[in-house]
């Protein structure tokens, strides 16, 4: 392992929280906006605003596409890459978070009275 790679591992630990925070903030915003749009379409169609599994898949896929695109625009991304943290890692964090949000929504549907 080169000296720079060793420095990168240390830096990754330090920078990760900032990159994750920026990524999660933007992913959540995108996901909420998309979900509101889907809910609006659902209400117009006369079905539940929460939608079904098709809505969940759509929300995850569209959010994933957004975050992969968005990861290239983050200031934090260039700084993180300069420290050896890959763009794919940043995008993967966003995608995992979008999936987590959908799982939470599915879980909310299963609650009694939902």
């Amino acid at each position: 392992m080169s000296e720079y790679a060793a420095l990168s591992l240390e830096a990754a630990r330090r920078v990760a929280l900032s990159v994750v925070a920026a990524t999660i903030r933007r992913t959540t915003l995108m996901w909420v906006l998309l979900r509101l749009l889907l809910a609006f379409v659902s209400v117009l169609s006369g079905v539940s605003p929460l939608g079904g599994w098709r809505h969940s898949i759509t929300a995850v896929l569209v959010t994933a596409a957004f975050v992969v695109y968005d990861a290239r625009r983050l200031n934090e991304r260039v700084f993180a890459e300069n420290l050896g943290i890959s763009e794919r890692g940043i995008a993967a964090i966003s995608l995992l978070f979008a999936v987590l949000l959908e799982i939470l929504l599915l879980a909310a549907r299963l609650l009694p009275g939902a």
Binding site: N75, A80, G84
Partner: protein
């Protein structure tokens, strides 16, 4: 002229097209250990496009990178950085919500005796180290970004317009810091339009025009290159070493 075997970083024969428009046909830029290469060219000629394509940050049709004794046919900045490259983009290296000090802490503990502290202090960033990037001027951000680069002690620095938005006095500070970094053996590639400062700073000059690159040699040779003076400098000034005649 070819890059030669002593080039530390070479962006070799890059071609980039966008929406049917050929931006780069075959552009090559390189830099050697301990020297500064300046890539000059008009706005929109593709300087930033070449750098971003060579670092995997932008699209490319073809082109390879030679760096750290390896050939990279699919270069990625993160992988190049792990081998000792640092990229100073034309804007947006610092996180706007974070202080300069936070960025320094993220770079790791500054305990290495090889770090040129005098060069970092020479950038005069102490007065705004505790401020967030979004509250700083363009020139202050530039100096802070360069100080971060110095902290990383790269073997190669790619700096896109390091003198942009920087006042004349601060350009001297930035130029001195870049020269000190080169003196320690770092290979540096810079772009920009501050011709006088860049020609004073550079050891080698590459001119980008028509989607390709032309090796002009030393700054003195560049100043006397008739086509370069006509098409890029387009100045009536007399440049030192130009033989006393003026450019068109």
């Amino acid at each position: 002229m070819s890059p030669g075997t002593d080039a530390v970083f070479t962006a070799d024969s890059f071609g980039v097209s966008f929406r049917g428009r050929q931006i780069l046909k075959s552009a090559t830029a390189w830099t050697r250990a301990g020297s500064v290469t300046a890539v000059l060219g008009r706005n929109g000629c593709g300087k930033t496009t070449l750098i971003r394509a060579a670092l995997g940050l932008g699209r490319r049709d073809f082109g390879i990178v030679h760096f750290a004794d390896r050939t990279w046919d699919r270069p990625r900045l993160s992988a190049l950085a792990r081998r000792g490259l640092f990229y100073l983009p034309d804007r947006g290296l610092l996180s706007w919500r974070r202080t300069v000090d936070w960025h320094f802490r993220a770079m790791g503990p500054i305990t290495n005796s090889q770090i040129d502290r005098a060069a970092i202090e020479g950038l005069e960033i102490e007065q705004f180290r505790s401020r967030k990037a979004k509250t700083m001027s363009g020139g202050e951000r530039r100096r802070a970004e360069l100080a971060l680069a110095l902290t990383r002690q790269p073997i190669c620095l790619i700096a896109d317009e390091p003198l942009a938005e920087v006042s004349p006095r601060d350009r001297v500070l930035v130029s001195n810091a870049i020269r000190r970094l080169a003196a320690k053996g770092c290979a540096i590639l810079v772009t920009g339009h501050e011709v006088d400062d860049l020609l004073n700073l550079a050891d080698l000059v590459v001119w980008m025009v028509g989607g390709t690159t032309h090796w002009l040699g030393t700054p003195e040779e560049a100043r006397t290159h008739v086509q370069f003076r006509m098409d890029y400098l387009s100045s009536t000034r007399t440049y030192p070493g130009s033989g006393g005649d003026t450019a068109c």
